[in-house]
Structures are given as C-alpha cells and as structure tokens.
C-alpha cells in the first residue's frame, strides 16, 4: 500500500477536507442530544414553548449544516479515491506495456488484466471508505476514552484495556484474512483465465465436443474461489461479535466496579450513566470500523498485488541512443549470437553470425522449432541475446531507445492479429500519420486492395475482434499492409504468407522489391519458393546455422536445405 500512497499526493487537499468535513458532521451529530437535553432541562420545567421552538430551530440548523458537511465529505473522499484509482491504473497500464516479452510470457495476460481492473477497483473502494471513516472512528473512540478519564481514572482504565484488547483482535483478524484475500484474488485470476481460454478456443472446444469438460473445469475453479470467499467471510464475520463481546464485557465490568464505587461513595449514579453512554458510543463506532476493516484488508491485499506489478522491472534495459529513423533500408549484423529462454533446458539459438547489407533480402528456413522466429525476434529486440550482439546500421540494438529501434523495423507476425475498429484504424496502427494515398499504396502492395474495396465501407469496414470476419489469408495481407505503411528500414515477415496462395505470395514479394527505398527484407518461411531468390539464405537446424548462402550454393553444399527443397517439388 505504501508503494501506492504517492498517487494520493495530488489530492492532499481532498484527503484532508474529506475527513475534516466528516469530523464536523460527527460533531454536529453529537451536539443534537445536547440541545435535546436543554429542552428537557430548561424548556419543559419552564413550560416555555417559545424556548423549545428556538431550540428545535437550532436543531434543524445543525441538521442542515451537518448535511452540507456530510455531502462535502462524501464529495472530497470520492474525488480523491476515484482520481487515485485513475492514477494508479494509468501507471500500471503504462508499466505493463513497458515489460519485455519474457515478463509477459511468465506473467500471463489474465492476471495482468485482473490487476488492472478488479484489484484497482477494490483499492479505490478501500481508499474511499478509509477517507470517510479513519478520522471519525478513532476521534469518537478516543474522545470517549478521554471523557471517561475526566470522570474517573480507575474506571477509565477499563476503557483503555478494552481499546487495547480490541486493537489486538482487529489486528489479528486482519493479519489472518489479508493473505486469504490475496489468494482470493489469485483464484479470481484462474477463473478469468479459464473463462478467457474458453472463449478464445470456442471452435476447437466445440469441434471436440468437450464443452462439458471445459465447463466442469471452469466450475471447479469457480467453486474453489467461492469456498475460499466463504471461509474468509466467516473469519471476517468474527469481527463484529468479538468487538460486541469485548465492549459489553467491559460494560458489565464497568457496572460492577461502578456499583462498588457508588457503594463507597467514590462515584455518583450520574457518573456511571455517563460512563455507560460513552461505552455505548464506542460500540457504535466500532461496528462501523469493523466493516471498514474487512473492506480494507481486501483492498490492502489488492494493493500489494498492484505494487508487485509496478515493482516488476523489465528484464531488458532500454538504450539511450535516439536516432530518428530515415526511410532508408538498414544493414543488419548478427555477431556470435546465442539465445536462451527462461526455464528452457537448451539454447534456442547457438552461435550464429552473418552480415546483411542494406536493401538485401534474407531468407530463413528450417524445421519446426529450429529457432527461426527466435532469430528474427532479436532484431527488434523482443528478447535479449544470451551471448553476442545484433547490430543495426553498425549500432548494437541494445543501445537504441525502443522507439527509435522499432520505428525502423516492421514485423508481420506469424499469427495475424487485427484489432477491433475499422480497417483504416488497423492500418494506421502501423503509422499514425499515413495519408489515404499511402494506405492505398500499402494495400495494393500487400495484395489486399481488391478485397478491402469489396467490403462494405471499404477502408471504413469494421474489423471484429481478432479479425474473425476476415479469412486467414485476408488477415495476413492486412497485417502485411499494416507493416508496409511504416516505410520500415527493415521488414520482417515471420512466416506470414503461409495462408496465401503461391501467386499472391509471389506478387507480394515482387511488389515489396519494387517499392521506393525497398526495406532490408527478412523472410522466414517453410517454402523454398518464398526464399529461393533471396540474397542470403540461412538454414537453421535445432538452433544452429547449418548452411548460409544463395539458393544455388546451398543446393550444392547444404544437405538439410537440399532435403527441404526436394520435399517441396
């Protein structure tokens, strides 16, 4: 929670005014019985209806002032809480986006989303409640204790003992439930993961007819969440009865010792009545406080989870070299590069070196899991090398800022992902300020122009989530257009034409080669046809480069390449 306090800093005034007004309101509320006492003590014995009327008028005035104070208190604490949550959310979102691929891999999407949504909501509720009650309750409790001291020191000690005992109980229950609330949020993550994967995999699930089993798995996670919530609820529900017992035990003891004191003449009956009233006030406040604390322990658990995310350092350090990207093709060099993923037993890439002059085309080919994607992922620095380095225009990728590095590279990923919005929105994802002509040029180069124009609304046609209203090949071509629009210095096509027929694939490659300032092109592919005209072909096998050269050279020298080639013709 400490970690998050700084988000309240800009709302110091609200944090101060909220509780202050709450306090004022409480004060006015406490005055009202005093006014009634004046009616009873002065007005009634004097049969003075005018005085009574005046007092009632005073009461109404206090009620109005109380209302104004209360509304102000609510407003200020709501303002502080909502803005606090917005600030936290903004930073968490921003921070999540700055994590590197390897953290994203380990963390997983579901938990990132719950932390951003449900956890922050819970903290917001906690802050709001806290601001409204944290001054008021202790104020009333300590006020009552102090008042008790003015009446009788010995009797007041009972108050002190009760308050200490209560603090222990409150703290104990909080300590007991806080870790439980944390695991509740953890289980909520799991429920969410299950729900999401059910939605994402709906076709496969239905094809295999495993709806019931998937549902049972969801239910099981849902049940385990619920049972923990119920258990934790049971512990939290102890708070009220415990405070009730302690206060009333103190009350009984107070009456007994009060009896003794009155018997010996140390106290009067009136004193005892006053003490009893103060004890009663404490109880009322504590019941409110108990509810606050239940909510607070949950909020604290959530705050911890949020702080965990904020504390998570991206494992890669961003470079500082900020060179604006020119629209020229870039040169690329791999120098003794090795890659090892977290938790993997073997290196994914071993000791690979080659140079790519600007503007040339590199083909990368190899078996499933041979490290093709791992290799090209190093160019935009999605992952860091374990050994060796990757240079772009002679500068190590680790030295560039992410923005300047990635602004010169465009990637067409293996899995074609589109976003909800229009086709145009998706293309502008590549470069915000692209003109309509540039968009159309990119679409034409990507062989996507015709089908886009066939869609209702053309560029403004809606893309539903994940692009499910487009076929696989259409999606791939839109992803290619999105990349081309960037005018990148380096274009990486990671097996991104697999759903295209050969004619389209060939036309696409031709169009890219004919672009002005054609980018240095990396083509990862299974098809020799897609890469056989490349200037350099890198043949990968289980993470090592087993061949490098042109198509003709490799046919002579590289048996793996020959095998791949022959398998396709």
């Amino acid at each position: 929670m400490k970690r998050l306090l700084k988000y309240l800093k800009d709302y110091k005034l609200e944090c101060f005014l909220g509780p202050l007004f709450k306090l004022l309101e409480a004060t006015f509320e406490l005055i009202i019985p005093l006014v009634v006492k004046r009616i009873v003590d002065v007005g009634i014995p004097g049969h003075d209806m005018a005085y009574i009327g005046k007092m009632v008028g005073l009461m109404l005035l206090f009620a109005v002032v109380g209302l104004v104070c209360a509304l102000s208190a609510q407003y200020f604490s709501a303002k502080a809480a909502v803005n606090f949550a917005a600030g936290v959310k903004k930073d968490v979102f921003s921070h999540l986006l700055s994590l590197s691929y390897s953290e994203i891999d380990t963390l997983g999407t579901s938990t990132m989303i719950t932390r951003l949504t449900s956890d922050i909501a819970s903290v917001q509720g906690g802050v709001n409640m806290f601001l409204r009650l944290f001054l008021r309750s202790p104020f009333v409790v300590f006020g009552a204790v102090i008042m008790a001291f003015t009446i009788d020191f010995k009797a007041a000690l009972i108050f002190v003992a009760a308050v200490i005992l209560l603090s222990i109980v409150v703290y104990g229950i909080m300590a007991l439930t806080a870790p439980k609330y944390r695991s509740i949020q953890g289980r909520l993550d799991k429920v969410m993961l299950s729900a999401r994967s059910n939605l994402n995999g709906v076709r496969v699930i239905r094809a295999f007819g495993t709806e019931k089993r998937e549902f049972d798995e969801f239910s099981e996670k849902n049940d385990s969440l619920t049972s923990l919530q119920i258990i934790t609820g049971r512990i939290s529900a102890l708070m009220n009865p415990f405070t009730f017992i302690i206060i009333n035990a103190a009350l009984i003891y107070l009456l007994w010792t009060g009896g003794v004191a009155v018997d010996t003449g140390r106290l009067t009956q009136g004193d005892v009545v006053a003490l009893v009233n103060y004890m009663g006030q404490i109880l009322v406040e504590l019941v409110k406080l108990a509810n606050l604390i239940v909510q607070l322990s949950r909020a604290l658990a959530c705050a911890d989870r949020i702080a965990d995310v904020l504390d998570m350092e991206p494992s890669m350090k961003e470079g500082e070299k900020n060179v604006p990207a020119a629209e020229n093709p870039c040169s690329v060099e791999f120098k003794d590069v090795s890659v090892r993923y977290a938790g993997a037993s073997e290196e994914a890439i071993r000791d690979i070196s080659f140079k790519v002059p600007s503007g040339s085309t590199v083909g990368i080919i190899g078996g499933t899991g041979s490290g093709k994607t791992s290799l090209v992922n190093l160019i935009p620095r999605f992952y860091d090398t374990a050994d060796g380095s990757v240079l772009i225009d002679g500068t190590d990728v680790k030295d560039y800022t992410y923005a300047s590095l990635r602004s010169r590279i465009a990637v067409v990923p293996q899995k074609s992902v589109l976003f909800t919005g229009t086709i145009k929105d998706n293309l502008l994802f590549g470069r915000e300020d692209a003109s309509d002509e540039e968009i159309i040029k990119a679409l034409k180069d990507a062989q996507a122009y015709d089908f886009v124009m066939d869609k209702d609304g053309g560029l403004e046609a809606e893309v539903s989530q994940g692009g499910s209203n487009f076929s696989g090949g259409q999606r791939q071509r839109l992803c290619i257009a999105r990349a081309l629009i960037k005018h990148p210095g380096i274009l990486i096509m990671d097996d991104s034409t697999s759903a295209l027929d050969f004619a389209t694939d060939a036309a696409l490659r031709k169009a890219i080669k004919e672009m002005d300032d054609a980018p240095t092109l990396f083509i990862v592919s299974q098809r020799t046809a897609s890469i056989m005209h490349a200037d350099i072909i890198v043949v990968l096998d289980e993470g090592s480069a087993v061949g490098m050269g042109t198509h003709e050279e490799l046919l002579d020298t590289c048996s793996v390449y020959r095998e791949i080639y022959e398998s396709q013709f």
Binding site: R206, G369, A503
Partner: protein, 579 residues
C-alpha cells in the same frame, strides 16, 4: 424501475436454493437485533440498582449483570452465524450466476462470440459478478437486521406513547422517499459507468493480450493515449456515480434528524400538558434514534444494491442472449459414420447484404479426399464453418450419410469430424491434457503413439517435464509450428471418421510435413476428408479438387483433369514456378 424489479426477481430466483440460509439469516438477525434492543433495558435496570452510597442492590445487580452476560454471548453468536449465512448466500449466488453465464456461453452461436470482444464478455462474468457480490453482501448484512430493529423499536415506542409513535411512523417514509428519489435520478450514472468501464476492459484486454504486437509497432504511446482518454472519461463518470451513491446516506440522515426534532417538540409538548414523563421522553428519544438508524443503512443498501443490479443486469443480458437453436427434438445421434457427405445448393452469408457462398454442391463418398483450393477469401473457411455447423446454412442442405445435419445433435456431428485449424489454440494446462482432449480415456501408449505419428514426440520429450509440461496462455513459449504439431496429435489420437484440415500444416516445415503426411495418409484411409492447403503435394493426391472463387465452386476434378482444362486451377498451379 420496472427493469430493475425484473432483474431483482431474477436475483431472488438465484437466491432460492439458499432458502435455508436465508431463513437462518432472518432468524439470527431477529435474535441479535432483539437482544441488542434488550441490552439497553438491562443496562438501565442495572443503573437503577446503583442509586448511591450504601444504596446498591448487590443481589439484583448480580442477577442483571449475569443476564447481560448471557444476552451478550447469545447475541454475539447470533451475529457470527448471521454473517456466515450471508456470506454463504452471497458468494453461492454469484457462483451460480457465473456458472450459468459460462454454461450459456457454451450454447451461444459463434456469430455472437465472433462479434463480441472477449474482454467485454469476460468483464461481465468476472468484474460485474464481483461487484454484484459486494452489493448483495452489503444488502443482506444490513437489510434484515435493519428491518427487525425497526419493528422492535416500533413496538417499544408504541408501548410508551402511541400518539408520538404515530408522528414517527408518518414521517419516516420521507427518508425512504428521498432515498428512492436519489436512487432513481442516479441510476443512469451507474449505467454509464458500467458502459465506459466495458470499453476500458476491451482496450485493456486487447492491448495487453496483444502486447507483443503493440510493442513491435512501437504503439505503446498511442495505446497509452487511448487508454488515458478513456480512463479520464471513466474517472469523471465514476466520480459522479460514486458521489451519487454516497448522497443517499447523508440525505436520509438529515430527514431522520428532522424526525428527531419533531419527536422532541411533540414530546416536550406532551410533557408540558402532563401526558408524558421526562423519563419516558428520554427513553423515547433513544428509541427514536435507534429506529431511524436502520433507515439510513437500508437507504445505503439501496444505492449499493442499485450498483449491484446494474451489474447483474449486464450478466443477465449475456445469459439472455439468444442461444444456438437447440438441437431438434427428434435430433438423432450420428453414429457408425460411413462418411458420405452431400452438400446441395447451399447458400450462406454472414450479413444479409453480402453473399458468401452461392449454390454450392459437393458430393463426397465415404473415404474420399477433397482438397479445397482458391484465392484467399473465396469461402473455404466458411464452408468448414457450415460443415461443423458452427453456422447454419441460409438455404440448401448438408447431409451426412443421408441425414440432414440439422436433424443431428451438434455434439455427435462435431465429434465425428476431426478438425485442425490454422489458428492453433491450446488450452492452458499440460501438453497431455491438450492431446487427450478428444479422447480423455486414452492410455499413455496411445497418446505417445499419436504424438509420434505427428512428430511432436521428439520436441515434447525435450521439454523440462515432457508431456506434463504446463503451457501457459496461448501456448506460451512454444513455436507456432510446435503448437500446430500438438493440435495434429490431438486429432491423430481422437481419430474421428471425417476430417477437416484447414491449413493444418501451414507452420510446419516441409520435411516434417512430409513425414507427417505419411501418418496423415494412413489416417485418411477410409475417412472422408476436406483439406484446405496450398501445398501441391497434398492437393495432387486428392480424389477431387474443388477450386473455389468468390463463393462458387468454379472447377472440380482430379489434378490432371483440371490441368488439362487450362482454367483457373492450371494458372494457379503454374504461378508457383514464377516469381
């Protein structure tokens, strides 16, 4: 408001199974509230026994204090049980609603799921359900105790002075009126809040889910801008909603203070007229405060419930979404499949105005291998959607073994097809769980044999925990090709009588593919198969090639025959050798 009542009724329906706990909750609420009212009376008695020096009734005091101890103990126990019951009701109810929502998702037509962002749907099942729980719990905790306290104090007040009680009773509805007026005028803020929040959830889930793409395009800053804009909007809306929800309590308290003042005046008047004693007035005022307090709480509950109802409404909206047309009553199980498939005059479109398939006719005999080729967007995937009955045809019919698919249970139809899609999907879990998906009772030997056939065994073996390696969301660090191999193993293990392979090997290298092809060939023997592929080797061996363009089958026949036709297919074929 009518809408709210309808939602409330449905919530009550969900609570019904917990009726035992509800009854217990009411009972213990009654016990604890009554005892709490009794306690001040006992305290008063005790005070009356401590009159002054030497005037303490020790025997009486002991008895009263013992009574108090008993009352406190019983009341505390009742409070705890009450809390536990309420917890049980709330979380149980939410669990059931969540379950129903999830069950319903399984019945929703794909057209709904394709159109609605996953983030939004998940937000309904998770976030809305969660907030609903909070509201409901609050409601239960305070509602019954409140009601019983009101009744109890009313009785006690009535015993003291029926006339002044009347004043109280007449005035208190004011606070309920104020509360409901506030609730009514602020409902829209809650609704707006829910809506803006749903947009936020969509942004969050899209940007976070596709974070890798976002980073690849250096889109982070723009993503932040979009998020921040929405976040500011949400902040404004939430502030309004939160403030609106907190209006009620002070307002009703204000009304209660007025009630209190009215009691003071009328009470004082009664005392002056000699109809009332000062002691009774003091007691009456105490009861009046105790009586009005629950009204505050209940009005607080009303706002809280309102938020809860808005959330519940959104979940129910999902549950009410029209499900897939249920299987016909006379739907039969498809079993003992031969694999004769007849597609007659099928037309289909996703949207009314745009035809996707037009008069498609395909007749496949048992064991035949069909290859579907054609430019992207020609309707191949749509055809598969229809075969699997993910969507229903607009006109025409699809028959399997002469049985119309609409007269078959979906489950039996689908499980008789083995499907591998280009878009690989793996469920979060172990590799084993993923492979045995189609045949949960498979033995280890069967599973490994399937994995070996699809050449997935060798890489799986190298993973830290082999088949028990847990893969994260979306396959985690596995390569696209490896994921595809696992998907193929899944079908190789299940071995259904008909197959659909939509670019099933698109991410697998050709050498591995050739080896898998052998296994595929064995698998396809005697199984009617539809294969979407670009690789000629696959296509060439097909019994029939369907060439599709713009939703029509324009050519149909064997490879050699089609080449001779010098049509679209032969062009397509030749283009492979050109650049």
């Amino acid at each position: 408001m009518k809408e709210n009542i309808r939602i409330l009724k449905r919530i009550l329906n969900y609570i019904k199974p917990y009726i035992f706990f509800v009854v217990a909750s009411i009972f213990f609420a009654a016990v604890s509230a009554t005892l709490s009212l009794f306690l001040p009376v006992l305290t008063g008695d005790a005070v009356d026994m401590i009159i002054g020096k030497g005037q303490v009734d020790w025997n009486g005091l002991t008895i009263v204090l013992l009574k108090m101890a008993l009352v406190v103990a019983v009341s505390a126990a009742a409070q705890w049980i009450l809390g536990a019951c309420n917890n049980h009701i709330t979380f149980g109810t939410v669990r059931d609603i969540r379950k129903d929502a999830m069950r319903h998702i399984n019945e929703l037509p794909l057209s709904y799921l394709d159109r609605h962002p996953t983030g939004e749907t998940v937000s309904r099942i998770i976030a809305d359900a969660d907030q609903f729980a909070d509201g409901l719990l609050m409601g239960f905790t305070q509602f019954f105790t409140g009601v019983i306290t009101i009744i109890g104090t009313l009785v006690l007040m009535f015993m003291l002075s029926p006339a002044i009680t009347l004043v109280v009773v007449v005035l208190t509805p004011l606070s309920i009126f104020v509360a409901s007026a506030i609730a009514k005028s602020t409902y829209r803020y809650f609704k707006k809040q829910s809506e803006v929040r749903a947009v936020q959830t969509t942004i969050i889930s899209e940007m976070i889910e596709q974070e890798k793409i976002v980073q690849a395009f250096a889109y982070e800053d723009r993503a932040r801008q979009r998020f921040n804009a929405n976040n500011s909007e949400l902040t404004g809306v939430s502030l309004k909603a939160l403030f609106a929800s907190s209006l009620t309590n002070p307002s009703t308290r204000f009304v209660n203070n007025m009630v209190y003042a009215a009691v003071a005046v009328s009470g004082a008047y009664a005392v002056i007229k000699g109809r009332f004693s000062i002691g009774s007035l003091t007691a009456f005022l105490t009861f009046a405060t105790q009586y009005t307090k629950p009204f505050n709480e209940i009005s607080g509950v009303v706002t809280e419930l309102q938020g809860a109802i808005a959330c519940a409404g959104r979940i129910f909206e999902l549950i009410d979404e029209k499900a897939e047309l249920p299987d016909a009553d006379d739907a039969v199980l498809l079993d003992d499949v031969k694999g004769n498939i007849d597609i007659d005059d099928v037309c289909f479109s996703y949207t009314e105005d745009k035809k996707l398939l037009e008069n498609v006719n395909i007749h496949a005999h048992s064991g035949e291998r069909f290859a579907i080729v054609g430019p992207t967007g020609c309707g191949k995937t749509t055809l598969i959607n229809l075969l699997m009955r993910f969507y229903d045809t607009k006109s025409g019919s699809i028959k399997v073994d002469d049985k119309d698919v609409k007269k078959l249970t979906r489950h039996s139809l689908r499980t008789n097809f083995g499907m591998v899609l280009q878009d690989t999907w793996l469920k979060p879990g172990t590799i084993r769980e993923n492979i045995i998906m189609g045949k949960p009772d498979a033995s280890d030997e069967e599973m490994i044999r399937a994995a070996k056939n699809s050449h997935a065994h060798s890489f799986i073996k190298q993973l830290p925990n082999g088949y028990d390696t847990v893969i994260g969301e979306d396959g985690g660090a596995l390569s696209q090709g490896q994921k595809q191999l696992i998907c193929i193993s899944r079908v190789m293990l299940a071995l259904p009588p008909m197959l659909i392979l939509d670019e099933a090997t698109s991410s697998i290298d050709t050498r591995t593919e050739i080896r898998i092809q052998k296994a595929f060939a064995t698998m396809m023997k005697g199984r009617t198969s539809f294969i979407v592929a670009h690789r000629l080797s696959t296509i060439k061996e097909a019994d029939c090639i369907l060439v599709m363009k713009d939703g029509n089958i324009i050519e149909q026949g064997k490879h050699e025959d089609l080449l001779k036709q010098e049509g679209f297919y032969s062009n397509l074929y030749r283009s492979q050798f050109e650049v």
